[in-house]
Protein backbone atom coordinates (compact mmCIF):
# COMPACT_ATOMS: atom_id res chain seq x y z
CA UNK A 1 0.00 0.00 0.00
CA UNK A 2 3.09 2.22 -0.05
CA UNK A 3 2.27 3.07 -3.64
CA UNK A 4 -0.90 4.88 -2.58
CA UNK A 5 0.59 6.82 0.32
CA UNK A 6 3.76 7.67 -1.64
CA UNK A 7 1.80 9.01 -4.57
CA UNK A 8 -1.01 10.72 -2.67
CA UNK A 9 -0.60 14.10 -4.45
CA UNK A 10 -0.86 12.34 -7.82
CA UNK A 11 -3.98 10.47 -6.72
CA UNK A 12 -5.47 13.72 -5.39
CA UNK A 13 -4.84 15.54 -8.66
CA UNK A 14 -6.53 12.67 -10.48
CA UNK A 15 -9.46 12.81 -8.08
CA UNK A 16 -9.80 16.53 -8.68
CA UNK A 17 -9.77 16.09 -12.45
CA UNK A 18 -12.40 13.36 -12.29
CA UNK A 19 -14.54 15.55 -10.02
CA UNK A 20 -14.23 18.43 -12.47
CA UNK A 21 -15.33 16.28 -15.40
CA UNK A 22 -18.26 14.86 -13.41
CA UNK A 23 -19.41 18.19 -12.05
CA UNK A 24 -19.55 19.91 -15.45
CA UNK A 25 -20.89 16.87 -17.29
CA UNK A 26 -23.52 16.28 -14.56
CA UNK A 27 -24.78 19.88 -14.66
CA UNK A 28 -24.96 19.96 -18.44
CA UNK A 29 -26.66 16.55 -18.54
CA UNK A 30 -29.25 17.58 -15.93
CA UNK A 31 -30.25 20.75 -17.78
CA UNK A 32 -30.14 19.13 -21.20
CA UNK A 33 -31.97 16.01 -20.01
CA UNK A 34 -34.77 18.10 -18.49
CA UNK A 35 -35.17 20.12 -21.68
CA UNK A 36 -35.26 16.96 -23.81
CA UNK A 37 -37.81 15.41 -21.42
CA UNK A 38 -39.97 18.52 -21.89
CA UNK A 39 -39.58 18.08 -25.66
CA UNK A 40 -40.74 14.47 -25.39
CA UNK A 41 -44.02 15.42 -23.70
CA UNK A 42 -44.54 18.61 -25.69
CA UNK A 43 -47.75 19.01 -27.74
CA UNK A 44 -45.79 19.94 -30.89
CA UNK A 45 -44.86 16.88 -33.02
CA UNK A 46 -41.50 18.31 -34.27
CA UNK A 47 -40.37 18.83 -30.68
CA UNK A 48 -41.43 15.32 -29.73
CA UNK A 49 -39.59 13.91 -32.75
CA UNK A 50 -36.44 15.83 -31.78
CA UNK A 51 -36.60 14.53 -28.23
CA UNK A 52 -37.21 10.95 -29.35
CA UNK A 53 -34.34 10.96 -31.84
CA UNK A 54 -31.99 12.52 -29.28
CA UNK A 55 -32.70 9.77 -26.78
CA UNK A 56 -32.57 7.06 -29.44
CA UNK A 57 -29.18 8.21 -30.71
CA UNK A 58 -27.40 8.82 -27.42
CA UNK A 59 -28.90 5.96 -25.44
CA UNK A 60 -28.05 3.39 -28.09
CA UNK A 61 -24.63 4.64 -29.11
CA UNK A 62 -21.67 3.30 -27.08
CA UNK A 63 -20.02 6.04 -25.03
CA UNK A 64 -16.66 5.37 -26.69
CA UNK A 65 -18.19 6.07 -30.09
CA UNK A 66 -19.74 9.33 -28.86
CA UNK A 67 -16.37 10.36 -27.39
CA UNK A 68 -14.52 9.23 -30.51
CA UNK A 69 -16.76 11.44 -32.61
CA UNK A 70 -16.22 14.39 -30.27
CA UNK A 71 -12.42 14.02 -30.18
CA UNK A 72 -11.72 13.02 -33.78
CA UNK A 73 -14.84 13.84 -35.77
CA UNK A 74 -15.33 17.46 -34.75
CA UNK A 75 -11.72 18.54 -35.51
CA UNK A 76 -12.16 16.84 -38.90
CA UNK A 77 -15.12 19.17 -39.51
CA UNK A 78 -12.91 22.13 -38.67
CA UNK A 79 -14.12 22.56 -35.09
CA UNK A 80 -11.11 22.71 -32.80
CA UNK A 81 -11.34 22.92 -29.05
CA UNK A 82 -9.92 21.57 -25.85
CA UNK A 83 -10.09 17.83 -25.29
CA UNK A 84 -11.34 18.48 -21.77
CA UNK A 85 -14.51 20.06 -23.15
CA UNK A 86 -14.85 17.58 -26.01
CA UNK A 87 -14.76 14.74 -23.48
CA UNK A 88 -16.94 16.43 -20.86
CA UNK A 89 -19.60 17.46 -23.36
CA UNK A 90 -19.54 13.99 -24.93
CA UNK A 91 -20.17 12.45 -21.54
CA UNK A 92 -22.91 15.02 -20.86
CA UNK A 93 -24.69 14.30 -24.17
CA UNK A 94 -24.61 10.58 -23.50
CA UNK A 95 -25.83 10.98 -19.92
CA UNK A 96 -28.55 13.47 -20.91
CA UNK A 97 -30.45 10.69 -22.71
CA UNK A 98 -30.66 8.69 -19.49
CA UNK A 99 -31.53 11.77 -17.41
CA UNK A 100 -34.31 12.53 -19.88
CA UNK A 101 -35.81 9.06 -19.58
CA UNK A 102 -35.64 9.15 -15.77
CA UNK A 103 -37.41 12.49 -15.69
CA UNK A 104 -39.99 11.36 -18.24
CA UNK A 105 -40.84 8.44 -16.00
CA UNK A 106 -41.35 10.96 -13.20
CA UNK A 107 -43.63 13.05 -15.41
CA UNK A 108 -45.70 9.95 -16.16
CA UNK A 109 -45.99 9.32 -12.43
CA UNK A 110 -47.64 12.71 -11.82
CA UNK A 111 -51.43 12.13 -11.73
CA UNK A 112 -53.03 13.47 -14.94
CA UNK A 113 -55.47 15.43 -12.84
CA UNK A 114 -52.68 17.77 -11.81
CA UNK A 115 -52.00 18.86 -15.39
CA UNK A 116 -55.69 18.98 -16.22
CA UNK A 117 -56.39 21.19 -13.22
CA UNK A 118 -53.50 23.47 -14.16
CA UNK A 119 -54.77 23.76 -17.72
CA UNK A 120 -58.30 24.41 -16.41
CA UNK A 121 -57.16 27.53 -14.58
CA UNK A 122 -55.65 28.82 -17.83
CA UNK A 123 -51.96 27.95 -17.64
CA UNK A 124 -50.12 27.31 -20.90
CA UNK A 125 -48.04 24.21 -21.63
CA UNK A 126 -44.81 25.83 -20.44
CA UNK A 127 -46.39 26.92 -17.19
CA UNK A 128 -48.11 23.59 -16.59
CA UNK A 129 -44.80 21.80 -17.05
CA UNK A 130 -42.49 24.14 -15.16
CA UNK A 131 -44.81 25.13 -12.30
CA UNK A 132 -46.91 22.04 -11.70
CA UNK A 133 -45.65 18.86 -13.32
CA UNK A 134 -41.83 19.06 -13.29
CA UNK A 135 -41.45 20.06 -9.62
CA UNK A 136 -43.45 16.98 -8.65
CA UNK A 137 -41.81 14.75 -11.26
CA UNK A 138 -38.22 15.51 -10.27
CA UNK A 139 -38.95 14.84 -6.61
CA UNK A 140 -40.12 11.34 -7.39
CA UNK A 141 -37.15 10.44 -9.59
CA UNK A 142 -34.29 11.22 -7.20
CA UNK A 143 -33.29 7.52 -6.84
CA UNK A 144 -33.18 6.70 -10.58
CA UNK A 145 -31.41 10.01 -11.27
CA UNK A 146 -28.90 9.05 -8.61
CA UNK A 147 -28.20 5.81 -10.46
CA UNK A 148 -27.69 7.72 -13.68
CA UNK A 149 -25.18 10.07 -12.06
CA UNK A 150 -23.24 7.33 -10.31
CA UNK A 151 -23.01 5.48 -13.62
CA UNK A 152 -21.77 8.74 -15.14
CA UNK A 153 -19.03 9.09 -12.52
CA UNK A 154 -17.77 5.63 -13.41
CA UNK A 155 -18.07 6.35 -17.13
CA UNK A 156 -15.80 9.36 -16.66
CA UNK A 157 -12.90 6.88 -16.61
CA UNK A 158 -13.42 6.46 -20.36
CA UNK A 159 -13.27 10.21 -20.95
CA UNK A 160 -9.65 10.18 -19.77
CA UNK A 161 -8.70 7.96 -22.69
CA UNK A 162 -9.81 10.60 -25.19
CA UNK A 163 -7.13 13.18 -24.66
CA UNK A 164 -8.41 14.60 -21.38
CA UNK A 165 -5.77 12.87 -19.30
CA UNK A 166 -4.85 13.39 -15.70
CA UNK A 167 -8.04 11.83 -14.36
CA UNK A 168 -8.11 9.18 -11.67
CA UNK A 169 -7.97 6.26 -14.09
CA UNK A 170 -5.07 7.79 -16.05
CA UNK A 171 -3.16 8.18 -12.79
CA UNK A 172 -3.23 4.39 -12.51
CA UNK A 173 -1.76 4.09 -16.02
CA UNK A 174 1.02 6.51 -15.19
CA UNK A 175 2.00 4.64 -12.05
CA UNK A 176 1.99 1.17 -13.64
CA UNK A 177 3.54 1.92 -17.03
CA UNK A 178 5.96 4.79 -16.62
CA UNK A 179 6.98 4.25 -13.01
CA UNK A 180 6.86 0.45 -13.09
CA UNK A 181 4.72 0.05 -9.97
CA UNK A 182 2.87 -3.23 -9.34
CA UNK A 183 -0.57 -3.18 -10.93
CA UNK A 184 -2.70 -4.45 -8.06
CA UNK A 185 -1.98 -1.88 -5.31
CA UNK A 186 -2.17 0.93 -7.88
CA UNK A 187 -5.61 -0.21 -8.99
CA UNK A 188 -6.77 -0.56 -5.39
CA UNK A 189 -5.85 3.10 -5.01
CA UNK A 190 -7.83 3.99 -8.11
CA UNK A 191 -10.87 2.07 -6.86
CA UNK A 192 -10.64 3.82 -3.48
CA UNK A 193 -10.54 7.14 -5.33
CA UNK A 194 -13.79 6.39 -7.15
CA UNK A 195 -15.41 5.19 -3.93
CA UNK A 196 -14.45 8.48 -2.29
CA UNK A 197 -16.64 10.19 -4.90
CA UNK A 198 -19.48 7.72 -5.38
CA UNK A 199 -20.26 6.71 -1.78
CA UNK A 200 -20.73 10.29 -0.48
CA UNK A 201 -22.69 11.03 -3.65
CA UNK A 202 -24.96 8.08 -2.85
CA UNK A 203 -25.41 9.21 0.77
CA UNK A 204 -26.17 12.74 -0.38
CA UNK A 205 -28.79 11.48 -2.80
CA UNK A 206 -30.31 9.32 -0.07
CA UNK A 207 -30.63 12.33 2.22
CA UNK A 208 -32.06 14.41 -0.62
CA UNK A 209 -34.59 11.68 -1.37
CA UNK A 210 -35.82 11.63 2.25
CA UNK A 211 -36.07 15.41 2.24
CA UNK A 212 -38.03 15.91 -0.97
CA UNK A 213 -39.99 12.67 -1.25
CA UNK A 214 -43.71 13.15 -1.60
CA UNK A 215 -46.18 10.58 -0.42
CA UNK A 216 -48.89 9.77 -2.88
Amino acid sequence: MHVITDNLPLYLSGLLRTLQICLYAGLIALVLGTVIAAFRVAPLPPLRATGTSWVTVFRNCPLTVVLFFMAFGLPELGLNGSYFWFGTIGLALYTSAFVCEAIRSGINAVPPGQAEAARAIGLGFGQVLSLVVLPQAIRTVVPPLGNVFIAMIKNSAIVGAFGVGGDLFAVGDTLTSARGEAVLPVLIGVVLGYLVITIPAGLLLGALERKVAIAR
Partner: protein
Protein backbone atom coordinates in the same frame (compact mmCIF):
# COMPACT_ATOMS: atom_id res chain seq x y z
CA UNK B 1 -24.20 21.99 -49.40
CA UNK B 2 -21.78 20.27 -51.71
CA UNK B 3 -18.76 21.23 -49.63
CA UNK B 4 -20.48 19.92 -46.57
CA UNK B 5 -21.20 16.50 -48.04
CA UNK B 6 -17.57 16.25 -49.11
CA UNK B 7 -16.56 16.95 -45.54
CA UNK B 8 -18.85 14.23 -44.24
CA UNK B 9 -17.35 11.89 -46.80
CA UNK B 10 -13.87 12.73 -45.59
CA UNK B 11 -14.98 12.17 -42.04
CA UNK B 12 -16.55 8.82 -42.79
CA UNK B 13 -13.46 7.72 -44.68
CA UNK B 14 -11.11 8.84 -41.94
CA UNK B 15 -13.15 7.12 -39.27
CA UNK B 16 -13.15 3.92 -41.31
CA UNK B 17 -9.38 4.28 -41.59
CA UNK B 18 -9.01 4.84 -37.89
CA UNK B 19 -11.16 1.83 -37.16
CA UNK B 20 -8.92 -0.38 -39.27
CA UNK B 21 -6.05 0.70 -36.98
CA UNK B 22 -4.70 3.09 -39.61
CA UNK B 23 -3.04 0.12 -41.27
CA UNK B 24 -3.89 1.15 -44.79
CA UNK B 25 -1.09 1.77 -47.18
CA UNK B 26 1.95 1.13 -45.00
CA UNK B 27 1.79 -2.59 -45.60
CA UNK B 28 2.07 -2.42 -49.37
CA UNK B 29 5.23 -0.34 -49.29
CA UNK B 30 7.77 -2.97 -48.32
CA UNK B 31 11.14 -2.04 -47.08
CA UNK B 32 13.47 -4.15 -49.10
CA UNK B 33 16.40 -4.54 -46.71
CA UNK B 34 19.85 -5.61 -47.89
CA UNK B 35 21.67 -8.81 -48.72
CA UNK B 36 24.34 -9.23 -46.10
CA UNK B 37 27.42 -11.12 -47.35
CA UNK B 38 27.82 -14.32 -45.34
CA UNK B 39 31.19 -15.23 -43.87
CA UNK B 40 31.77 -18.77 -45.18
CA UNK B 41 34.97 -19.40 -43.19
CA UNK B 42 33.68 -18.51 -39.75
CA UNK B 43 35.47 -20.65 -37.16
CA UNK B 44 34.64 -20.81 -33.47
CA UNK B 45 35.98 -22.46 -30.39
CA UNK B 46 33.99 -25.60 -29.60
CA UNK B 47 31.48 -25.20 -26.82
CA UNK B 48 30.72 -21.54 -27.47
CA UNK B 49 27.26 -20.30 -28.45
CA UNK B 50 28.67 -19.33 -31.85
CA UNK B 51 29.96 -22.84 -32.56
CA UNK B 52 26.66 -24.34 -31.49
CA UNK B 53 24.64 -21.99 -33.69
CA UNK B 54 26.91 -22.52 -36.69
CA UNK B 55 26.66 -26.25 -36.31
CA UNK B 56 22.88 -26.27 -35.91
CA UNK B 57 22.60 -24.18 -39.05
CA UNK B 58 19.80 -21.96 -37.71
CA UNK B 59 19.45 -19.07 -35.32
CA UNK B 60 16.30 -17.86 -33.56
CA UNK B 61 16.17 -14.09 -33.27
CA UNK B 62 13.53 -12.19 -31.32
CA UNK B 63 12.36 -8.89 -32.80
CA UNK B 64 9.32 -6.62 -32.90
CA UNK B 65 6.73 -7.34 -35.57
CA UNK B 66 4.91 -4.05 -35.20
CA UNK B 67 7.64 -1.42 -35.20
CA UNK B 68 7.88 0.21 -38.65
CA UNK B 69 11.43 0.80 -39.92
CA UNK B 70 12.96 -1.35 -37.16
CA UNK B 71 11.05 -4.61 -37.00
CA UNK B 72 7.80 -4.86 -38.95
CA UNK B 73 6.31 -8.08 -40.25
CA UNK B 74 4.67 -7.40 -43.58
CA UNK B 75 2.20 -9.48 -45.54
CA UNK B 76 5.00 -11.63 -47.00
CA UNK B 77 5.75 -12.90 -43.49
CA UNK B 78 9.34 -11.68 -43.32
CA UNK B 79 10.10 -8.92 -40.85
CA UNK B 80 11.87 -5.86 -42.24
CA UNK B 81 13.74 -3.04 -40.57
CA UNK B 82 16.99 -1.93 -39.01
CA UNK B 83 16.74 -4.36 -36.07
CA UNK B 84 16.18 -7.15 -38.57
CA UNK B 85 19.26 -5.97 -40.50
CA UNK B 86 21.35 -6.12 -37.33
CA UNK B 87 20.07 -9.68 -36.80
CA UNK B 88 21.08 -10.57 -40.36
CA UNK B 89 24.55 -9.07 -39.84
CA UNK B 90 25.13 -11.16 -36.71
CA UNK B 91 23.83 -14.30 -38.42
CA UNK B 92 26.06 -13.65 -41.44
CA UNK B 93 29.04 -13.42 -39.09
CA UNK B 94 28.13 -16.90 -37.88
CA UNK B 95 28.11 -18.16 -41.45
CA UNK B 96 24.29 -18.26 -41.60
CA UNK B 97 22.42 -16.63 -44.51
CA UNK B 98 19.22 -14.70 -43.89
CA UNK B 99 16.97 -17.63 -44.82
CA UNK B 100 18.42 -19.65 -41.94
CA UNK B 101 17.04 -17.17 -39.40
CA UNK B 102 13.89 -18.05 -37.51
CA UNK B 103 12.18 -14.80 -36.50
CA UNK B 104 10.29 -14.83 -33.21
CA UNK B 105 8.02 -12.01 -32.10
CA UNK B 106 9.47 -10.32 -29.02
CA UNK B 107 7.02 -7.77 -27.59
CA UNK B 108 8.39 -5.45 -24.91
CA UNK B 109 6.76 -7.25 -22.00
CA UNK B 110 8.19 -10.73 -22.65
CA UNK B 111 11.71 -10.07 -23.99
CA UNK B 112 13.54 -11.11 -20.81
CA UNK B 113 11.46 -14.29 -20.53
CA UNK B 114 12.21 -15.28 -24.14
CA UNK B 115 15.96 -15.05 -23.49
CA UNK B 116 15.90 -16.66 -20.04
CA UNK B 117 13.83 -19.60 -21.21
CA UNK B 118 16.08 -20.15 -24.24
CA UNK B 119 13.24 -19.69 -26.73
CA UNK B 120 15.45 -17.33 -28.74
CA UNK B 121 19.24 -17.11 -29.14
CA UNK B 122 19.24 -13.32 -29.11
CA UNK B 123 16.84 -10.37 -29.12
CA UNK B 124 17.12 -7.29 -31.34
CA UNK B 125 13.93 -5.38 -30.62
CA UNK B 126 14.37 -1.65 -29.91
CA UNK B 127 15.65 -2.92 -26.58
CA UNK B 128 16.91 -0.10 -24.34
CA UNK B 129 19.88 -1.11 -22.18
CA UNK B 130 19.22 -0.39 -18.51
CA UNK B 131 20.38 -1.69 -15.15
CA UNK B 132 17.08 -3.29 -14.22
CA UNK B 133 17.16 -5.47 -17.34
CA UNK B 134 20.89 -6.19 -16.92
CA UNK B 135 20.05 -8.10 -13.74
CA UNK B 136 18.31 -10.75 -15.83
CA UNK B 137 20.10 -10.75 -19.19
CA UNK B 138 23.30 -9.45 -20.82
CA UNK B 139 23.48 -6.83 -23.56
CA UNK B 140 25.82 -6.63 -26.53
CA UNK B 141 26.14 -3.26 -28.21
CA UNK B 142 24.62 -0.70 -28.17
CA UNK B 143 24.19 -0.75 -31.94
CA UNK B 144 22.07 2.40 -32.04
CA UNK B 145 21.25 5.24 -29.69
CA UNK B 146 17.62 6.27 -29.88
CA UNK B 147 16.21 9.22 -27.97
CA UNK B 148 13.00 11.07 -27.30
CA UNK B 149 12.19 13.52 -30.06
CA UNK B 150 9.31 15.64 -31.35
CA UNK B 151 7.19 15.22 -34.46
CA UNK B 152 5.55 18.33 -35.89
CA UNK B 153 3.69 19.37 -39.03
CA UNK B 154 5.96 19.45 -42.09
CA UNK B 155 5.49 23.23 -42.43
CA UNK B 156 6.11 24.07 -38.76
CA UNK B 157 9.34 26.02 -38.19
CA UNK B 158 8.56 27.40 -34.74
CA UNK B 159 9.16 24.21 -32.77
CA UNK B 160 12.87 23.46 -32.82
CA UNK B 161 13.26 21.39 -29.67
CA UNK B 162 11.68 20.75 -26.28
CA UNK B 163 12.67 24.22 -24.99
CA UNK B 164 10.61 25.91 -27.69
CA UNK B 165 7.39 24.21 -26.58
CA UNK B 166 6.59 26.48 -23.64
CA UNK B 167 7.34 29.83 -25.35
CA UNK B 168 5.18 28.91 -28.34
CA UNK B 169 2.39 27.59 -26.12
CA UNK B 170 2.36 24.40 -28.19
CA UNK B 171 0.09 21.53 -27.25
CA UNK B 172 1.92 18.21 -27.09
CA UNK B 173 0.54 14.69 -27.44
CA UNK B 174 1.88 11.41 -26.08
CA UNK B 175 0.66 8.07 -24.73
CA UNK B 176 -0.88 7.71 -21.26
CA UNK B 177 1.58 6.31 -18.74
CA UNK B 178 4.54 6.12 -21.11
CA UNK B 179 8.04 7.17 -20.08
CA UNK B 180 8.16 9.89 -22.79
CA UNK B 181 4.92 11.34 -21.42
CA UNK B 182 6.57 11.64 -17.99
CA UNK B 183 9.79 13.11 -19.42
CA UNK B 184 8.05 15.84 -21.42
CA UNK B 185 6.31 17.20 -18.31
CA UNK B 186 9.38 19.31 -17.50
CA UNK B 187 8.98 21.11 -20.85
CA UNK B 188 5.20 21.67 -21.04
CA UNK B 189 2.45 22.73 -18.65
CA UNK B 190 0.00 19.97 -17.70
CA UNK B 191 -2.93 21.66 -19.45
CA UNK B 192 -1.00 21.60 -22.74
CA UNK B 193 -0.25 17.89 -22.53
CA UNK B 194 -2.74 15.64 -24.32
CA UNK B 195 -2.65 11.90 -23.70
CA UNK B 196 -4.13 9.04 -25.74
CA UNK B 197 -3.77 5.28 -25.53
CA UNK B 198 -1.92 4.88 -28.85
CA UNK B 199 0.35 7.09 -30.94
CA UNK B 200 -1.79 6.86 -34.07
CA UNK B 201 -4.43 8.97 -32.27
CA UNK B 202 -1.74 11.55 -31.51
CA UNK B 203 -0.81 11.64 -35.19
CA UNK B 204 -4.48 12.27 -36.02
CA UNK B 205 -4.65 15.09 -33.46
CA UNK B 206 -1.54 16.64 -35.03
CA UNK B 207 -3.07 16.35 -38.49
CA UNK B 208 -6.25 18.18 -37.47
CA UNK B 209 -4.33 20.86 -35.58
CA UNK B 210 -5.59 19.87 -32.15
CA UNK B 211 -1.97 19.55 -31.01
CA UNK B 212 1.24 21.00 -32.44
CA UNK B 213 3.68 18.22 -31.53
CA UNK B 214 3.83 14.49 -30.77
CA UNK B 215 6.59 13.15 -28.58
CA UNK B 216 8.12 9.73 -27.94
CA UNK B 217 11.28 7.84 -28.96
CA UNK B 218 12.48 8.99 -32.38
CA UNK B 219 12.20 5.48 -33.87
CA UNK B 220 8.43 5.33 -33.23
CA UNK B 221 8.05 8.86 -34.61
CA UNK B 222 9.97 7.85 -37.74
CA UNK B 223 7.35 5.19 -38.41
CA UNK B 224 4.58 7.80 -37.99
CA UNK B 225 6.38 10.25 -40.28
CA UNK B 226 6.60 7.54 -42.92
CA UNK B 227 2.87 6.80 -42.60
CA UNK B 228 2.03 10.52 -42.68
CA UNK B 229 2.81 10.83 -46.41
CA UNK B 230 4.76 14.06 -46.09
CA UNK B 231 2.43 15.75 -43.59
CA UNK B 232 4.79 15.38 -40.64
CA UNK B 233 8.50 15.74 -39.95
CA UNK B 234 10.92 15.00 -37.13
CA UNK B 235 12.43 17.93 -35.27
CA UNK B 236 15.49 15.64 -35.05
CA UNK B 237 16.81 16.91 -31.74
CA UNK B 238 16.88 14.00 -29.32
CA UNK B 239 16.75 15.02 -25.68
CA UNK B 240 17.05 11.67 -23.90
CA UNK B 241 19.38 8.73 -24.50
CA UNK B 242 17.96 5.25 -25.17
CA UNK B 243 20.86 2.98 -26.19
CA UNK B 244 19.54 -0.09 -28.01
CA UNK B 245 21.37 -3.35 -27.28
CA UNK B 246 21.24 -6.96 -28.41
CA UNK B 247 19.89 -9.11 -25.59
CA UNK B 248 21.65 -12.43 -24.96
CA UNK B 249 21.64 -14.97 -22.16
CA UNK B 250 22.97 -13.58 -18.87
CA UNK B 251 26.74 -14.03 -18.64
CA UNK B 252 27.37 -15.23 -22.22
CA UNK B 253 30.35 -12.88 -22.62
CA UNK B 254 31.88 -14.81 -25.54
CA UNK B 255 28.71 -14.37 -27.64
CA UNK B 256 28.45 -10.75 -26.51
CA UNK B 257 32.04 -10.05 -27.63
CA UNK B 258 31.40 -11.79 -30.93
CA UNK B 259 28.34 -9.57 -31.57
CA UNK B 260 30.33 -6.46 -30.64
CA UNK B 261 33.16 -7.46 -33.04
CA UNK B 262 30.65 -8.18 -35.80
CA UNK B 263 29.04 -4.74 -35.27
CA UNK B 264 32.43 -3.00 -35.38
CA UNK B 265 33.31 -4.84 -38.59
CA UNK B 266 29.92 -4.02 -40.13
CA UNK B 267 30.53 -0.34 -39.48
CA UNK B 268 34.04 -0.51 -40.97
CA UNK B 269 33.00 -2.30 -44.17
CA UNK B 270 29.97 -0.10 -44.76
CA UNK B 271 27.29 -2.75 -44.14
CA UNK B 272 25.99 -0.82 -41.10
CA UNK B 273 25.46 2.32 -43.19
CA UNK B 274 23.93 0.29 -46.02
CA UNK B 275 21.48 -1.36 -43.63
CA UNK B 276 20.49 2.00 -42.15
CA UNK B 277 19.99 3.51 -45.59
CA UNK B 278 17.70 0.66 -46.66
CA UNK B 279 15.46 0.92 -43.58
CA UNK B 280 15.24 3.78 -41.06
CA UNK B 281 17.45 5.91 -43.32
CA UNK B 282 14.44 6.43 -45.57
CA UNK B 283 13.05 8.78 -42.93
CA UNK B 284 16.27 9.88 -41.19
CA UNK B 285 18.84 9.90 -44.01
CA UNK B 286 21.92 10.71 -41.97
CA UNK B 287 23.59 7.45 -40.90
CA UNK B 288 24.13 7.46 -37.12
CA UNK B 289 27.62 6.56 -35.88
CA UNK B 290 27.92 3.19 -34.17
CA UNK B 291 27.78 4.14 -30.46
CA UNK B 292 30.66 3.40 -28.09
CA UNK B 293 30.20 -0.26 -27.19
CA UNK B 294 29.63 -1.23 -23.56
CA UNK B 295 31.99 -3.80 -22.01
CA UNK B 296 30.57 -7.33 -22.02
CA UNK B 297 29.71 -8.77 -18.64
Amino acid sequence: MKARSVRWGVLAASMALALTACGGNSENRLETGTDVPVDPNAQFEPGTTMAKLKQSGTIRIGTKFDQPLFGLKGLDGNPQGFDVEIGKIVAAGLGLPADRIEWVEAPSKTREELIEQGRVDMVVATYTINDKRKQRISFAGPYYEAGQDLMVSADDDTITGPESLRPTGAKVCSVTGSTPAEQIKQYVDPENLTLFDVYSKCADALRTGQVQAVTTDNVILMGLVQKGNGRFKLVDRQFTKEPYGVGVKKGDTAFCRFIDDTLTRAEADGQYAKSWGATAGKVSPETPPLPQLDPCS
